[in-house]
Each structure stands twice: as structure tokens, then as C-alpha cells.
Amino acid sequence: MEKKRENVFRKVARWLVRGLLGTQFEEKWFYRKNKENQDEDQKDKAPDDSELIVSPGRQVFNRFLERKFAVFSVFVVLAMFAIVFIVPNFMPKYYDAFTETTQKDLPPTLDFMNVPGELNGHIKMIDSYSSFTVGLSDEGKVYVWGIGAIGATGINVKNIPEEVRNAKIAFVAAGQDHIIAIGEDGKFYGWGSNRFGQYAVDDVILANPNLEPVPDAVLNGELDVNHIKRVTAGFQATAILMDDGTLYIWGNKQAYANLDRFIGRTDIVDVDFTLNYVVGLNDKQTSVYTGTKGLYSSVRTKIGGGKGEKMSAFLDGRKITEVRAASTSVAILLDDGSIALTGDFQSDVVEVPDLEDGEQFVDIEAGTYHYTGLTNKGHVYSFGGDHYYQAEAPQVAGAAKVYAGAFQSYAVDANGKLLNKWGLKGYLFGTDDRGANIAERVIAGGRITMTVGAVAVIIEIILGVSIGLAAGFAGGWVDMLLMRIAEVFSSIPLYPFMLILNSLLSQVSMSTDERLYMIMVILGFLGWPGFAYITRAQVLVARESEYVTAAQAMGVKSSRIAFKHILPNIVSVILVNMTLSFAASMQTETSLSFLGFGVNYPQPSWGNMLSRASNATAAINFWWQWVFTSAILIMTTVCINTIGDTLRDVMDPKSSNDK
């Protein structure tokens, strides 16, 4: 009988099949051919002794494969390595120091754009400013989706007040942390945070000179709904514009320094909010009015259009019909159907599209950094800031209305049916206290943490093994001296020493990368004695063994004996310690970074990403900021330690005997 000897790859493949699909597939795919004669073989012949003798390496490997969890761990660790080293190449928009104020502390979710099914087909308007979106249906019903919870305040804008549910609503608008609604009968509603008098008035708000209270006419429901032209909300402010040019505006004057200039105006045609300014269009329609001289006065037709021209020269008799503001820029729609831009843009942008002949913009809406425009042919174009891919509009035909807010855009047809939506879906692991995507930072941080661990261990091994070899092989005073040095190094208290070195290094101006190398080198330099002791002990054992005596008798050079005869025999022990040391170095790095003495912001590491959780309130309120990162960190170290443990077990001949 020739029972086929399995090669390594076949065995791994078979194991994978067994693990993933089950034993029946394993038998079907791997044992089908020799299944018939297997039974006969077993009856006829006793097992051949020569088949049982396998090389020690093969034996260790086979025994390793028997440990399912260990094999699983190998795959997990390899997968982690692959993810943290390959995936960053597919995150072109990621950079370490990214911050986004409106996206701070958001829990994990992917439904930023999940328009409720009931609303679809009856969309009257959609508005959003930060993490939640409010929609209004033809029947006057209000829907809220996205993340309704406002930070750790306990307020949730998804809890729509009962009176709003029962009323027929005509207008809605969403701000940073509040929503306002106006009923068909002119009644005014608001919910969410009212810390800056967003929708209600009380004594504290009246007493605060920095807050402009809601006008009485609005509160008392005296507005004629049929004459409301536009309702919009900004960071902590809200504006209602009537079609006779009357503007009602209120909110936080510290967030909008020029809010005063707009109070009580009756000559306004359009209004919107940037991050710091209220921008309006007065009835002359020849400039973007901010009440601040020189602001938004030079216009250009393209984002990369240089310094731009003076507004009056550019307009050349044309009129501005619409003003829409993103965070730091303003887009204006002219009466000839073209658009122009003023203000600043980030670096990561999509350029304004060139329209075909005869195609004109009829409407434009602004998100936090991007704009979405609708043309007279029903096409939709987006441009502006593209960090969340919100300015990459799909092909849409037959759109009658577009809505844009925050980082999303929606295209709706004439029947109120949603045609398409694009932009930011949400965050798999939530966002951190700077508004960065935790999932991306976990990957980028893993790359740093694992690199630091790996390089530190490599330095430890190179130093430790060569010193251990030298000490063990040379003996005498060399051994004595080297071991004393090792003792000095191992009696250095690790954490205090690391902290001193780190604060020393922080005095020296060095780039973040250089700092990272220093951390690796320091960890490596403080960790080598362990390897030196082990190597030396193994060399002392090996030196007494017969094959070394034989080699010496044959006159082999001692350096050759050390590297060719002894080193291969101690590789297994080093391998085991390497794995365990790798996990330990990763832990040391995370602990140091957690204390603020390792890898520092903006560079992510699994340690410094967890430092926010040292605050008990943040740890419970923003659980996603540490749970995912620590779970991945623990999973990785558990798997690495499992591999090390299993290697030690299977390589130890003693442990196999008593099994």
C-alpha cells in the first residue's frame, strides 16, 4: 500500500477545509481516491515502521497542526499583519492629524443615509447639519435618522415631541444639535439642545448678552406659512426668511459674530450660515452680504481658480439669485444659470464641473464642505470638499430637487421619490474626540504598534543572541564580563528609565518618525538580556554535546561551530521567546503610549487611542472609543501568546511523553 504522504500545503488546505466547511467535505475532497482500498490496507498489513519515523521538524509541525486554536491564531496574526500593512494603502483620504468638529464622539453606525421607507416617495424636504438628518413628508410628518444622541447630554433628537407628531408640519430645519419645525398653522416647534436658546426662551437665556432669543413673532406662531421662503439652521443659530424680505434670526452670537447685523432686517432675499458667519443676499442682489467688509468679496468660477476677481467686475450686470454656504466658503448662483465660488477650500476637493451647452444650474445646496447643484436637464453635480467622498455624485437623470447637508446629498424626483443618495454612510467603530474615524485609526495605529513590537524584538534578538553566543562559547572572563553587563541592563527599572529617556527626547526637536525609531531602539536595548541568558544557557548545553565535540575534534573553526552547529539547535528556543517577547513589547508600547510617554498624537497607536478611556465618564459614555481598540489589541496579543505557548509545548520532548 502506498498511503500517500501528505505535503505541508495539502495538510494546511485540508485543515482549512475541515475547519471552514466540515469533515464531510474534507473526506470528499481529500480521501475520495484511496477510500476504497483503505479498509483493505488496514486489514492486510501492519503499519510500516519506516512510515512512522519523521524528521523532528516535521514532527513539531504535525503536532502544531493538531492544536486547532494555535493554527487559528497563526491565521489571525497573519491576517492582522496583512490588514495593518496593506489596508493603509487603500485609505487615500486618511491622514493622522485629521479633525472634524461636527463629527466628534459619534457612536458606531452606518445609517446616516437610511431614509425611512415611509418617507420615500413623499419627500418634501430634507435637511441636516451634523450627525442627524431630518426629513419632512408631503403629509407633514417629520422623520429623523442618523445619530440622534447629542454627545453625553442625554438629549436625543430622534425623540420627536408628541405635539410635533400630531401636527401637520410645513418646514423643518436641522442645526448642530437642535431641530426646529413650523406647522401648517404657523405654530413653532423645536427640540434637541436648548443650551444656547436654540428654540425656547427662558430667564437664563434672556439674561445672557451673547444669546439672541427667539423672536416673539416666531414663538407665538404669528408667521404666515404660505409666505415663508426659507428656514435654515446653523451651528447654534436659526433663521426664518419671509418672501417679503423679513428675516427672523436668533441663536448664539459667539458662534456667529455678525448675527447682530441681520436682526430686524427686511431687505433680505437669501440667507445661510458658514461655520463662523451668517451670509445673506440683500435685495440689490449684487454681493454676498456679511456686514463685514472685504469678506467673500473676490469671486472665481473654479475652486482652483486663483485669487479671483472683484465681485462687481465679475458680475458685470448679472444678479445673484441664491447664496449657499459651506463651512468656510460660499457658492453663489447667478441669474444666467452659472455658479461662482468665494472663500477658502480644503486641499481634497472635486472641481466644479463644466456643463454642456444649454445646460444651466437651477438650484444649489451646500453641505459642510461640499455643494450639490441641480441643472435644468435634471442632472446632478457635486463639487467641493471630498474627504468622505461626498462630492462624487452618481449619474442621475430626472431629478427635480436636490438636498445637501453635512456630508450627504440626496436627489429627489418630481414625485418626491428618492433617486439616489451619496456621501458619508457612517462609522463602523464610531469617531473619537477629534472627529476622526476610529476604524481607520485602529488600522493605522495597528501598523505602528505592531511595527514597534516587531522591530524592538528584532533588536533584542540580534543583540541578545550574539552576546549570548559570545558569552557561552568564549567562556572565561568574556562570559563573566558580558553576563555582568547583562545584569546591569536587566536591573534597570524599565518604566522610570523609559519615561526619563522619553522626556529627554521630547526636549530634543525630532520628527514623529524619529521619535518612533527611538522608542523601538530603547525597547530593544532594554530587553536583550533575556535572550542573552537563554542563548548562553543553550550554548552551554550544546557545547557539551557529542556532535560539537566531534566537530571540534575535526578541527572546525570555533566561529563556524557557533553559527553552523550550535545556532540551528537553539533556534527553536529563540523562536518561542521571540513570539512571547513580541506580545510583551506590544504591551509595553501600548502602556507607555497610554501614559503619554510613547507614541504621541497625531500618530495613532493602540495605546494612545485608549488614553481617553482613563476618564471614567468618557469610558462609559463613549464606550466605542476604547472597546473596539482594546478588543483588537487583546485578540492580537492572545493569538501571539497562543502561538508562543503552543510552539513551546510541541517543541518540548518532555511534554509529549506524558501525553
Binding site: 545584569e487 529627554l504 526636549q507 482613563s614 471614567a616
Partner: protein
């Protein structure tokens, strides 16, 4: 034996001086110049002088302060010896560690020797309770796992100790804080006593206990896993020895075999951990103390680090280094106590 200890002590002192010298030199690389700042501060108070007079006066003052603080030289060895108290200052007097001058903490405005003892006592108290609890739990657990190797109980324990061993301690602390403080509200999050409430007598003791319980539990939990694993591993090795087979063959009871024969052998590799643990209590748990605002040695060191409280850091480094070396010595002596073979070979 006495000769051995004497030899070790001499060697220990050598290493101690070497290490502290390295740390001292490293520390002097930091751009902090006390003489300069003090001279600057004093010159600011003299308003009547002209610019030129100020410049000459400043040089004078700077030299005065440098001589006062003993920094009037760039020679690191002299600076180090002055710090030790083996080299005279400019005016000929000695003032260093050997004269009992450990330095002055500018953060606390007290000599460092007055600040450190309370912190050390706190760290030591919490550490010693933890150490006893940890050994009380892990040693029986490790022995039981080793004796019933590969049983369900063993596998269960192995699984949890693997996770515990792989988890950085601060994550364990976070979980405990979230669970006990934020969800159950059993313990206060940080501090040593209720702020503003000046309890006395019994109430004070209870209040401190209330604040200290959670850190102790956390610290205990943080070191359970690794020590259990080490106990188990060394016990398994010990149970595989030939002498155990002989003991069983003699007909000794299983109890006698395990606790008297095997445990004695298993204790040898554990000595360094047990001794190191006891000395480690004095050094304090840096991460734990930072997270709980527990006034121990670790927090003292970290805050000194953050505020660049130079003399404090140096003094704490001396303590750390001394404890590290001393615990090495005690470990080696304990090996002799535990293992007769070591005693003979000396």
C-alpha cells in the same frame, strides 16, 4: 556564606554607582538651568539699574547661584560626586546624599525626603495587601491546574489566564472602573478620601478604605493571570521529576507528594517572582496610581516627570535602582534557602 554576601554587596554597590551615574548624566542633558532662572528672577527685582549694570550684575549673580547649586563646572563626574557628597562645593562644604541632602522638591516646596515617605507608605500598604491576595489565590489555583492537567477546570483556567496575561493592565482597570464606578456606583472613581469631608477616627478609616478598595481589587486582578501561569508551569515541571515518581512509589499520600515534594521543587523558579513582587510594592504601580489618582510612588514619579521636578526624579530613581538591585540580592539568597543544591555549590 558571609563572604558570598559581602562579594555580592560590593558588586551591587558598583552597579548602583554605575547606573545612577548614567541616569545622572542623562538627566543633566536636560535643558534646565536653575542658576540661570534664579539669577534672572533676582535681576528682574532690581529696577533701578541701567542695562549695562544689569548685564554685569547678572553675570555676578549667575556665578553666585552656580556656585551655590554646585553647577559651576561642566564636568559630569564632578557634578555627580557633588551630588553624592564626595566632592566639595565652591566654598569647600560637602552637601550630597552622604550628608543626608537628597535635594529639594520645587513642586512641593519641601525637601524630597519629607514628601516621599507618605507616598511610599501608601504604595506599600496597597501593594502588600495585593501581593498577599494574589499569592493566596494564584498558588492554590496554579497547583490545582498542574495536578489536574488538561482537565476541564484546567482548560477553563488556562483560557482565562491567557486572556488576562495578554491584556495590558490598564484595560483591566478601565473595565473595572466602568463596571464598579459608572454602572454599579459602588466605589468612587479616584482620590484617597472624600474631598471636603473632614472625617475623623473611624469614619476616616472607613472613608479611606472605601476609596482604596477598588484600586486594590484592580491591582490584584491585574497580576492574577501571569502568576497563575507561572505557578502552573513550574508545578508541572516539578511533577515530572523522578523524585516524584519515587515518592509515589514509596506509597506516600498524594497530598504529601504534591505539597511537600513537588511544591518544594516548584518553588525554585517562583522565588524571583515572589521576592520581586514584594519589593515591587514599594516602587508603586504607575499606571494604576495614575488612573485612580492614588497618591503613591508611581504617581509621584509621573507627576515629577511632567513638571520636571529634577531632585524628586533623581531621588526616586535612586530608590528604584536600589530596590531593584537589593531585590536581586535577596532573590539569590532565597534561592539558597529554597534549594539546598544552590547552597552547596557556593
Amino acid at each position: 556564606m558571609a563572604r558570598y554576601i559581602a562579594k555580592r554587596l560590593v558588586y551591587m554597590m558598583l552597579v548602583f554607582f554605575l547606573l545612577t551615574f548614567i541616569l545622572f548624566v542623562l538627566y543633566h542633558m536636560m535643558p534646565a538651568n536653575r542658576a540661570y532662572t534664579d539669577a534672572r528672577a533676582e535681576i528682574q527685582t532690581m529696577k533701578r539699574l541701567s542695562e549695562e549694570e544689569k548685564a554685569t550684575k547678572f553675570d555676578e549673580l549667575y556665578l553666585k547661584y552656580q556656585r551655590l547649586y554646585g553647577t559651576d563646572t561642566d564636568n559630569n563626574l564632578i557634578l555627580y560626586l557633588r551630588w553624592l557628597g564626595l566632592y566639595p562645593f565652591y566654598d569647600g562644604h560637602y552637601s550630597g546624599i552622604f550628608q543626608g541632602n537628597f535635594g529639594f522638591s520645587y513642586e512641593y516646596n519641601l525637601p524630597v525626603v519629607d514628601v516621599v515617605p507618605t507616598h511610599m507608605r501608601n504604595s506599600f500598604l496597597i501593594g502588600i495587601i495585593t501581593e498577599i491576595a494574589v499569592l493566596g489565590i494564584t498558588i492554590p489555583l496554579g497547583i490545582k491546574c498542574a495536578v489536574k492537567k488538561n482537565s476541564r477546570f484546567d482548560r477553563f483556567t488556562q483560557f482565562f489566564t491567557l486572556i488576562g496575561f495578554s491584556t495590558p493592565s490598564f484595560i483591566i482597570y478601565i473595565v473595572f472602573i466602568v463596571f464598579f464606578c459608572s454602572i454599579l456606583h459602588w466605589f468612587p472613581v479616584s482620590g484617597m478620601k472624600t474631598p471636603g469631608a473632614n472625617y475623623t477616627g473611624w469614619r476616616e478609616v472607613l472613608d479611606v478604605l472605601h476609596h482604596v478598595t477598588l484600586p486594590t481589587i484592580c491591582l490584584t486582578f491585574g497580576s492574577l493571570a501571569s502568576i497563575t501561569r507561572i505557578t502552573r508551569a513550574s508545578m508541572i515541571d516539578a511533577l515530572n521529576l523522578d523524585c516524584i515518581r519515587t515518592a509515589r512509589a514509596k506509597g506516600l499520600t498524594e497530598k504529601a507528594v504534591i505539597y511537600s515534594h513537588a511544591w518544594r521543587n516548584a518553588l525554585v523558579p517562583m522565588v524571583s517572582i515572589i521576592v520581586g513582587g514584594f519589593f515591587g510594592t514599594i516602587q508603586g504601580a504607575m499606571i494604576l496610581e495614575t488612573m485612580f489618582g492614588f497618591k503613591g510612588m508611581g504617581l509621584l514619579f509621573l507627576s515629577a516627570m511632567r513638571t520636571a521636578d529634577y531632585d524628586m526624579i533623581m531621588f526616586l530613581e535612586v530608590i528604584y535602582t536600589f530596590i531593584g538591585l537589593f531585590s536581586n540580592l535577596v532573590t539569590d539568597l532565597c534561592y539558597g534557602l529554597v534549594d539546598p543544591r544552590v547552597r552547596i555549590s557556593k
